[in-house]
């Protein structure tokens, strides 16, 4: 009996260990082909010829072949948020939805042909860059602000901005604050470990204030609503979401005011690891494609109708055959490493920028955000797609 017990326990342990390594295998991502010591370099391969990997401050960036890795794995590891309404959160079924989630799907559609082939890895603010650097995720699409210190010091490369946001301050209308300078000696709530803390500290400058930081957005929200802080500082998109959902029993949206002042630029966009230029460029161009589609008027519903278009630019974009004057038929290859027609796959999967915006954060959603700076350059906004040729 005793021996049996021992054997059984050992067997169970062995099985658990076996399963453990199995689980680890399914989440193993980029394996560095031998750690490179300082001084040795491995060139990355791009279709356009070998390029040196960019180095991060203080160390050698790992040379990687993320594209091949993702394609062989068959799934994209996307670092996301799961607690920000509109951008990255879980619906009651537990599925990830949001603006950033749609961009994850777009990348998966471009690289793997299947927008659902994504492993969403929810990360908190502290671990997001460590996860990116260590290879746990392939791309970080988590309402992350593009700053120089992140480019330089966090070993991250930022792609084309998906959302031009800014940090704002939300106060109660009855307090009557018009600007930050009116808010001496007030108490301001913000989340821990994000740029919001530093930005608000910088903006207040000499004006004295108290900073209350919380780990959890929910607790912060409750504290603000109960009056523990006079102001809530965060990206304006998040504040707008809270404001538009403010229950009428508390005074409805009009009880809260978002100050006009935007005291920091928060260009949000995807981030990839330093050192894999091909992969970073792919992410770049997926974002650009989505913007470009809006410029061309291509939507998820009407991609097929463009099969006969005469516009060479659109044909190039969609990977359709182009017949020149001599009768030669070519299909445009950009050299990014993606199959021609990836543009069509992306738009068919998630739609163009206007659709993604309207679906997640637009005026008809609980967030109710106007396009503002997130409109096309032709409409006075900041979205400009470099030509695909």
């Amino acid at each position: 009996m005793k021996t049996t017990k021992l054997l059984a326990v050992l067997a169970a342990l062995a099985l658990v260990l076996a399963a453990c390594t199995e689980a680890a295998d399914t989440t193993t991502t980029l394996g560095d082909p031998g750690t490179t010591e300082a001084g040795a370099e491995e060139p990355t391969t791009t279709a356009g010829g070998g390029e040196e990997p960019t180095t991060t401050a203080g160390g050698q960036a790992p040379a990687g072949d993320t594209l091949a890795e993702v394609q062989s794995r068959g799934a994209l590891n996307c670092g996301v948020n799961d607690a920000v309404p509109g951008f990255g959160f879980r619906d009651p079924d537990g599925n990830f939805v949001g603006f950033d989630i749609d961009f994850c799907k777009a990348v998966a559609a471009a690289v793997l042909g299947d927008p659902e082939a994504v492993e969403y890895v929810p990360l908190n603010a502290q671990q997001r860059f460590t996860a990116l650097q260590s290879g746990e995720i392939d791309v970080l699409i988590r309402n992350t602000t593009w700053t120089s210190s992140r480019d330089g010091g966090e070993g991250a490369t930022f792609a084309h901005t998906t959302f031009f946001d800014g940090q704002g301050m939300m106060v109660r209308a009855e307090d009557g604050f018009a600007s930050i300078d009116d808010m001496a000696n007030t108490s301001i709530c913000s989340l821990t470990g994000t740029t919001t803390e530093q930005n608000v500290t910088d903006r207040f400058g000499d004006v004295p204030f108290e900073l209350l930081t919380f780990e959890d957005n929910e607790v912060l929200q409750q504290a603000f609503l109960a009056g523990q802080c006079d102001g809530w500082t965060s990206d304006k998109s998040q504040l707008a979401g809270v404001r538009s959902n403010f229950p009428d029993t508390e005074g409805g949206p009009d009880a809260l005011t978002i100050l006009d002042e935007t005291f920091s630029k928060e260009p949000l966009g995807p981030a990839t690891r330093d050192g894999d230029t091909q992969w970073s460029q792919i992410i770049d161009w997926v974002v650009i494609a989505i913007i470009q589609a809006e410029e061309f008027g291509i939507e998820s519903g009407n991609v097929d109708t463009f099969a006969d278009t005469e516009d060479v630019n659109i044909r190039r974009f969609l990977g359709l055959e182009i017949e020149d004057d001599e009768g030669n038929v070519t299909v445009f290859e950009s050299g990014l490493g993606l199959e021609p027609g990836w543009g069509a796959d992306v738009i068919a999967a998630v739609g163009n920028y206007a659709e993604i915006y309207a679906r997640n954060v637009g005026p008809d959603t609980p967030l109710g955000l106007e396009r503002g700076p997130n409109s096309l350059w032709t409409d006075g906004g900041l979205l400009y797609a470099p030509p695909y040729r």
Partner: protein, 423 residues
């Protein structure tokens, strides 16, 4: 023969025992002695020799542990260097980048200063919380054994509820139910000018030091020494004559008297300072942030429920004969508790209670959930703002270790003095 005998002398007692006391050196004696000596000095083969095995096992174990640690260290430094995270502790001098509520840490202050403030905040929770939870725990533990059925039931419900839910939950509930519903700062509750209550802070009247305060402190120290002497004197009087010693009253009286004398002689070494709220600015008084009180209330109630269970167990473990003897002496319930039951019960209760104290200290790390700037929150903030995680975690662990060791040491001294010497 004499040389033989001298050489064999150590073995002789054995041999002569063997042969029945005969001391003469005969061939029989020699053969017996030789075999005895051989037996005594015979060594088992080295692979069965316990002395060698002990050393070998220890060396092997140390080598294995050392190897594991070395591999871990190698990986750690390698990976950190590869990603570009700094090794070493220079980051402690760099600016922390954020301000900390309720202190004068601003964005430009060094990281180590912010950590010190964090430790101070943890200390504030510990130093107020431990006595509170002991008192409440003992009261509730005694209440559980009360003959009043309602009181006993209420105490039981309190203990069984709080003991079985996670401390994080208690903290969140205390925050949402206890602190947030308090009046806002625009409309606070003021208690007779002496205290201000709102959901950001609770301020009570305090003292401010005037010049001469340090001299006053020295005088009070002297008064403490004098009252200790008075304590011993009264105890000696009691031991000698049996007259009631009233030593508590005597010592306190002496201290109070000397304090008043000192106060008058120096002329106002300290003053009452009432909290004054002007808009949002608080001056004067002692104040604690809302998060602090949420943590304090939650953790004190939570840990007190465990202590109450311990106290109940230890009161029940006091032999029944003691209770019966106390009843026979016509001691009232309260007297029995105070003179017979509790002193014996406390002796039994102390070791598990030390555990609960340490749990309390460790649970203060949950302040991060309600935004109370104790050391864990500050470490999280620093890591989120780009400071290296491994070193920060190490510093965090070290500070909690120090807390644990100090509290263990202090309470263990008390424990040792209380323990009965048993077999």
């Amino acid at each position: 023969m004499d040389r033989w005998r001298a050489a064999l002398r150590p073995a002789l007692p054995l041999a002569t025992n063997h042969l029945g006391g005969d001391d003469k050196v005969t061939p029989q004696l020699i053969s017996v002695v030789t075999s005895t000596v051989a037996q005594q000095t015979a060594r088992p083969p080295w692979w069965r020799d316990i002395r060698i095995l002990r050393v070998v096992v220890q060396v092997a174990a140390t080598a294995v542990i050392g190897l594991i640690l070395y591999v871990l260290w190698f990986n750690l430094t390698n990976n950190m260097r590869r990603i570009g995270i700094e090794l070493g502790f220079d980051f402690l001098q760099q600016p922390v980048g954020v301000s900390v509520t309720g202190s004068d840490i601003s964005a430009g202050s060094a990281v180590w200063r912010a950590l010190v403030v964090g430790i101070k905040n943890t200390f504030a929770l510990v130093v107020v919380g431990l006595p509170l939870l002991t008192i409440i725990g003992v009261l509730v533990g005694v209440a559980r054994l009360s003959t009043n059925w309602l009181v006993a039931k209420a105490a039981t419900i309190y203990v069984e509820t709080l003991r079985n839910i996670p401390p994080l939950l208690v903290i969140l509930v205390a925050f949402f139910v206890g602190i947030l519903p308090l009046p806002t700062i625009q409309d606070p509750v003021e208690i007779f000018d002496l205290a201000i209550v709102n959901n950001r802070f609770i301020a009570v009247t305090g003292f401010t030091a005037n010049p001469g305060f340090s001299t006053f402190m020295w005088i009070m120290l002297g008064a403490l020494v004098v009252s200790a002497i008075v304590w011993r004197w009264r105890t000696a009087v009691f031991d000698a004559s049996g007259k009631p010693h009233h030593r508590v009253l005597w010592s306190l009286g002496v201290m109070l008297g000397l304090g008043v004398v000192g106060f008058l002689v120096i002329g106002r070494p300290f003053e009452l300072s009432k909290p004054v709220l002007d808009g949002r600015v608080l001056t004067g008084g002692y104040s604690g942030l809302g998060g602090y009180f949420a943590m304090l209330v939650a953790l004190v109630l939570y840990t007190a429920s465990h202590v109450a269970e311990i106290v109940r167990g230890s009161i029940l473990a006091v032999p029944k004969g003691q209770t019966e003897a106390a009843n026979a002496l016509a001691l009232s319930g309260f007297q029995r508790l105070r003179h017979v039951t509790l002193p014996q019960a406390m002796r039994i209760a102390l070791p598990p209670t030390i555990n609960q104290y340490l749990n309390y200290v460790k649970n203060t790390s949950l302040g991060i959930a309600v935004g109370y700037s104790e050391v864990t929150l500050i470490a999280f903030q620093a890591v989120g703002n780009g400071r290296p995680a491994p070193q920060m975690v190490l510093i965090l662990m070290a500070s909690y270790l120090v807390f644990s060791l100090v509290i263990s040491a202090v309470v263990n001294v008390l424990n040792r003095r209380l323990q009965l010497v048993t077999q």
